[in-house]
Subunit: 150 residues, 2 copies
């Protein structure tokens, strides 16, 4: 299943990043899950595939992917960062999060994105022009109390 899509390899190349075993494995793992994975989660899976991979490398790879805009890093308030592929062809759809402030439960929602696209596109264009930012991504999260905690 390795090398399923050259799409990211091309992006690595364009960034001057080498394509290595550990990086391929991390990309595979991210492709294969629908979860919000922490670095430790990725490490555990990577370790099953190749026990010589170090946690440090997982961190470094996830960080690099985040900076390249391939991965999105989230903080749900439970003390560890979570990572998700931004473009996962055939994978999880674009979505946002509904986060409970008390129990930290996270609900992914994909509804109501039509209105969002319109709003985000417009705002993003305005912002990138005004602040000369190369915007690659956005986050929309709603916070509150879930039905169990309210």
């Amino acid at each position: 299943m390795r090398g399923r899509g050259a799409w990211w390899q091309e992006r690595f190349y364009n960034s001057g990043a080498r394509i290595t075993g550990p990086r391929e494995i991390v990309m595979d793992i991210l492709h294969e899950t629908d979860d919000h994975m922490s670095a430790a989660d990725v490490y555990v899976k990577a370790h099953e595939i190749n026990p010589s991979i170090g946690l440090t490398t997982v961190y470094r790879t996830l960080d690099m992917l985040t900076q390249m805009g391939i991965v999105q890093k989230f903080d749900f308030g439970d003390g560890k960062a979570r990572y998700e592929l931004i473009n996962n062809p055939g994978g999880k759809k674009h979505h946002h999060h509904l986060i409970c402030l008390k129990c930290k439960a996270v609900i992914d929602y994909t509804e109501f994105l039509d209105d969002e696209v319109e709003f985000i596109t417009k705002t993003q264009n305005r912002l990138s022009e005004k602040y000369n930012f190369d915007i690659t991504d956005h986050v929309i999260s709603f916070y509150g109390l879930c039905e169990n905690c309210r």
Copy 2:
């Protein structure tokens, strides 16, 4: 300047939270700044006012305020959480963030909120109904590379 607004004291009361010296000081500090303060930042200021206040209490207070929806907790990716008052009468306006993935610079923007209000209100209503969530807050952030890093 203490006790400037009873608004939060009432909310403390309604939550069964006691109004204590340390908590008043933390609220004052949050009222008086426009920055995105970390717990350590708040601690330093609190310590100037009353050196007996402990960092632990600052953390606990900020956490409580976050759960009460008085404060919003942010993660800009630099490893420490930031806190801002959500309703600061006479203070900083509602705003969102533009965050550089490389240098972690944060730009606050307040423009283009008219479109946002419409979009957010609608989405929030739909979500709270569908998922039975008591939504108190939202975050919209844009990520990318700032003009120096792009």
